[in-house]
């Protein structure tokens, strides 16, 4: 299944292979170093997925192993009619879209700020990537207990401070996770993933041809005009790459949902629901069908992502 994704976008002009076929033995000698990695990857990542496909066609609950039976596409019908699973599809879309859009906007703003010379630029970059370098579970725990906690979290603490400053004796103290569960998860993920977008977009900004920008400036183009007509078109593919890779990573997110809300309060996304269906409810067939659905969704996003990577890749190859 993934093989199909892999081969479609590659329409790049192939540079002549440096090792043309000079008899079979030679070709195999060239291939040999590649094989261990390739075989390992196929066995560990593709075989389990084939097994998932097979299991998804069975009615199989491990608590009731004798009743295992072939069920055809029945599990798929359940995936689309089961309210919890359907909700988790919606949650996944909202979560992914929310995080990706917010991180791209923030990441672009930060990348533009960093794409200049100023005192301590390296230090600011280091500060900015720190959220991304916390273990995801640590970051989620930090948000849940040290920031969101309604009694002693930093957010409500800051509200008390500000209230105090203005003589407000009973400042509002929201219970962040209970009042806005999905937003709470999104905010924590945005904080962790903005550095990722910033780094990609900063790399894009720094690959801009300096002469063109300089020429535009000498021709009297305003900063906005330069940004709108030169920078943004150049950044387009970096933006696409950021959006698609971000989407692929966030669709699969498990750590934040698991740690912040344990899937409660309508925040269970597909990976979490699948985990629950198989690990707690022991519905192996249903969990597998849901897994196949996630894979199909991811393949749709991934096909676009691979196309973008492939166009950037061929550009790099041509430049080299």
């Amino acid at each position: 299944m993934t093989t199909a994704v892999g081969t479609t976008p590659v329409s790049t002009p192939q540079p002549p292979a440096p090792a043309p076929r000079k008899g079979g033995g030679k070709a195999w000698a060239t291939r040999a170093p590649l094989l261990p990695a390739l075989v390992f990857l196929i066995v560990v990542t593709q075989l389990p997925f084939v097994a998932t496909l097979v299991i998804s066609l069975f009615d199989w609950n491990s608590l009731n192993p004798d009743k295992r039976s072939f069920n055809g596409l029945g599990n798929y019908a359940s995936v689309f009619t089961d309210a919890a699973l359907r909700d988790s599809v919606v949650t996944t879309v909202l979560l992914t879209a929310g995080v990706v859009i917010a991180t791209v906007v923030l990441g672009l703003a930060l990348a533009l700020l960093l794409d200049r010379t100023f005192f301590g630029r390296g230090m600011v970059r280091t500060l900015l990537i720190t959220p991304f370098l916390l273990v995801p579970v640590s970051a989620a725990l930090l948000w849940k207990h040290a920031l969101y906690n309604p009694e002693y979290g930093l957010f409500n603490g800051a509200l008390s401070w500000i209230g105090d400053l203005f003589g407000d004796t009973s400042p509002s103290q929201p219970d962040w996770i209970a009042d806005m569960p999905l937003l709470a998860v999104i905010a924590a993920l945005v904080w962790q993933w903005t550095p990722f977008m910033m780094l990609i977009l900063l790399a894009g900004l720094q690959s801009r041809p300096a002469e063109v920008i300089e020429a535009a400036r000498l021709d009297g183009a305003s900063a906005w005009q330069t940004f709108r007509y030169l920078t943004l078109p150049h950044l387009r593919r970096y933006l696409e790459l950021g959006v698609l890779l971000g989407a692929v990573y966030i669709v699969q997110n498990f750590d934040a949902v698991f740690t912040l809300t344990a899937g409660g309060l309508g925040t269970a996304n597909l990976p979490y629901t699948i985990y629950q269906t198989f690990y707690q409810a022991h519905e192996y067939g249903l969990a597998s069908a849901a897994g196949v659905v996630v894979v199909i969704g991811t393949i749709i996003i991934a096909t676009f992502a691979l196309r973008v990577v492939s166009s950037l890749f061929s550009e790099e190859a041509n430049r080299a």
């Binding site: 170093p33 991304f132 370098l133 273990v135 996630v294």
Partner: protein, 292 residues
């Protein structure tokens, strides 16, 4: 971008230059403010980890409470005797050995995709990449069943294999782009002298691409260390990793915020160290080599 290079011929220009300079300073300050704001939660975590439990959980927050290492002592089991060392060592082992295995598999593969290229090498590269897009959760159940039936559950070597497959595509892509910079003539010279491929890789290619290989290793290490889903499902008491230990750590009763922050700091330290070390190559790894 700064206007300092503008010729100061007319009186209007210095004023414009001054304005541009002021604007540049303001933007620099804004960048600093943004950087500090982003880092603030992490700094807060670090500060809280150094407070006593009674000072950590106050509203409004006690910024200037006396500092203490009690949180760290508690995390390392001073009161309960529950030591976090086994999960930390499990994480270290799983991350280290999977990174090693990744490099052993990826280096020859990258050689065949960048120096002595196989035919259709771009197709092969994209196949590697496409496996990374396959959601982990889709293969989880068969892997769990396999592990259960072969007695591999709760065994860090299973995690080593899974983390290797998780990081192999990233490593192949990154190493491929680093090895492409190694001059072919050097390699050919070694081969004329009769060196075989493992020798060429170890003696010629690896030293020349060392910074790239190091960055690749650090990024694979980070991803393995961070992983939660596989570790949560496939390990129990014996092979539990640090992130799994952290998630179970929360259920403690009473005041635990300083301890929790200390735990989060300790578990994140290796990633922070590796990440800062690989800072310049981080984008390349995260974008799977697409951005240099």
């Amino acid at each position: 971008m700064t206007a300092t290079t503008a010729p100061a011929s007319s009186p209007a220009v210095p004023r414009a230059a001054r304005r541009a300079k002021r604007r540049s300073t303001a933007l620099g300050l804004l960048a600093w403010a943004a950087g500090l704001a982003f880092c603030l939660p992490a700094l807060w975590m670090f500060l809280t980890s150094l407070h006593a439990e009674s000072d950590a959980a106050t509203n409004p927050p006690s910024l200037f409470a006396p500092l203490t290492l009690d949180g760290y002592r508690a995390f390392f089991g001073a009161d309960t005797g529950v030591t976090p060392w086994p999960p930390l060592l499990n994480s270290l082992g799983a991350s280290f050995f999977s990174t090693l295995l990744v490099l052993l598999l990826a280096l020859p593969a990258a050689y065949a995709l960048s120096i002595r290229r196989v035919r259709k090498w771009t197709d092969v590269l994209f196949f590697f990449l496409s496996t990374k897009m396959l959601p982990v959760v889709a293969g989880l159940l068969p892997i769990y069943l396999f592990a259960k039936n072969t007695g591999m559950l709760d065994n860090i070597w299973l995690l080593v294999l899974l983390y290797t497959s998780m990081n192999l595509p990233i490593a192949v892509w990154m190493l491929q782009s680093f090895l492409a910079d190694v001059p072919v003539s050097v390699i050919e010279a070694a081969q004329v002298d009769g060196a075989r491929l493992p020798t060429v890789l170890a003696r010629v290619v690896a030293p020349m691409a060392a910074p790239g290989i190091a960055a690749t290793a650090l990024i694979c290490f980070i991803f393995s260390w961070n992983e939660l889903l596989f570790a949560r499902v496939l390990t129990g008491v014996v092979a539990q990793t640090a992130p799994v230990f952290l998630t179970g750590f929360v259920t403690s009763q009473g005041l635990f915020l300083a301890q929790l922050c200390a735990a989060s700091v300790v578990v994140s330290l290796p990633v922070l160290a590796a990440g800062y070390a690989a800072q310049d190559k981080l984008v390349q790894g995260l974008s799977l080599g697409a951005v240099k």
